[in-house]
């Protein structure tokens, strides 16, 4: 009977974390931020069909970086969870906090028990229907750790550099001003990003039940 070599648990976790981080760093970053009318999520994405940002529920949006098929599975699981919960109880009972916890459990479970961790970082964003101070951004990492933010959050391999470029961020700016800042941060000093390179969506406080809206094409160009 063969005995596997002993590997310290610290080493196992470190290897897995390194593996996941490398996978995530290969993709492009994205930023979610509050603005005066809700939450805007801006991703660098040249594809018009393969989405990084999408709708989960009335007031909840989702964004992922890293391996597409992995965060897309998480997205669909989130939609199922939210729709089932809304069907069983009430639409008002579906909230981002519980969803973020479920995602954290799921990612934590995979990180410790599966062959390979998920190479993803995800963002679950929720707007307060009437109160801007209840806007929330949950950032969930490949190992299941969660942080919550009320200002802005950067996802992806290049996060530290991007955060430095976000120094001018301020609350309650207009959508256009916020978006310009996010795009400049994503682009860095030696590049310019145009509407075609971006995927932008907002959760917009207003009359509509479903608050998630994509901003594309001419509308996006006008804002930039």
């Amino acid at each position: 009977m063969s005995q596997p070599f002993y590997v310290a648990p610290e080493q196992v976790m470190k290897d897995r974390a390194d593996y996941a981080r490398k996978g995530i760093a290969r993709g492009r970053s994205l930023i979610g931020s509050t603005y005066d009318g809700g939450i805007v999520i801006c991703a660098e994405n040249t594809s018009n069909t393969l989405r990084k940002v999408s709708e989960i529920y009335d007031r909840i949006g989702f964004a992922g970086v890293g391996k597409y098929n992995e965060f897309d599975q998480l997205r669909i699981a989130g939609v199922r969870h939210a729709d089932l919960k809304g069907f069983n109880y009430s639409r008002a009972d579906v909230d981002a906090r519980s969803l973020a916890n479920q995602y954290a459990n799921m990612l934590g479970q995979v990180f410790t028990h599966e062959m390979k961790p998920m190479e993803v970082e995800i963002l679950v964003a929720e707007i307060g229907l009437t109160e801007p101070e209840r806007d929330q951004l949950f950032h969930i990492l490949y190992d299941g750790s969660v942080t919550d933010h009320t200002t802005y959050v950067v996802l992806g391999g290049d996060a530290d550099a991007l955060r430095e470029r976000m120094a001018d961020w301020a609350p309650n700016k207009s959508l256009s001003d916020t978006l310009k800042l996010l795009v400049a941060a994503l682009a860095g000093d030696d590049r310019t990003l145009v509407a075609d390179d971006l995927e932008v969506a907002v959760l917009e406080r207003g009359e509509e039940r479903r608050t998630f809206k994509r901003i594309e094409g001419d509308d996006l160009t006008a804002l930039l």
Binding site: R51, S54, E55, I56, Q73, I76, A77, V79, R80, H81, D83, L84, G86, F87, N88, Q102, N105, M106, Q109, V110, H113, E114, R210
Partner: protein
Amino acid sequence: MTQTPWNPTSPGADPGSSFAELLRQSGLEPPVPQGDVSETFDVVHGTTCVAVRYADGVVIAGDRRATSGNLISHRSIEKVFPADRHSAVAIAGAAGPAVEMVKLFQLQLEHYEKVEGTSLSLEGKANQLSQMLRNNLPMAMQGLAVVPIFAGYDLAAEQGRLFQYDVTGGRYEELDYTATGSGSLHAGTVAKIHFRDNMTRDQAVDLVIESLFQAADADSATGLPDLIRGLYPVVATISADGFDRLENDELETRVRTLIDRYTTVGGRDGGNSLSAEGGPQ
């Protein structure tokens, strides 16, 4: 994907974009009653709904009465619901299962849209409702039949379209007008006689209001507009701009105009006959 308590699906049995299948796998599907429910209880029934096509889309409307046996059980029930942005469903039949079916149908369309990232075609939506009715057949056999109308604006064909159903899930596309429920014979006849191609929104709205009025005049299970309580039929238009429910003020004006016409133009028997100059055109 790893199974977790909140993701009740194993990879082998992926429900895909179907919310109904997801419910089934989660064990949340409602049970079918054993025995004929309508023999044991007076089931609440929703009654008459009508829809007509006009130049920019469709108008769909339903009266506000629900009956159980020979009692009026609700005076202000609503039977016309937006299914999504560009379609609506109106229901007649057992109110409980019907409202549940609408709720499920709305969710199914939204669920599909979110999972797939794109909306179903109008044909696809009509087909979904057909399947839900077919699944409801065991319930219909127990006296809980539901017979809806589905109406929507087809963004591809750029026109309004109407679908009629039967309890078995049979789906029949109608060109100009359709009606369902106990007063459907009368409502449908009025719609048939006064239908004109390319009606304006105003003409179409007046036509559905008159159809329901005449249905209520001849069918005890259909409610007349209730001026005392301020209850009017639910009327909605669906055009390229989406689903738009008419405000109560507009409905009141139109109902009062209709009643004025009946009481002045037709004289004593104005309520019983539609004189040539009295038609909605």
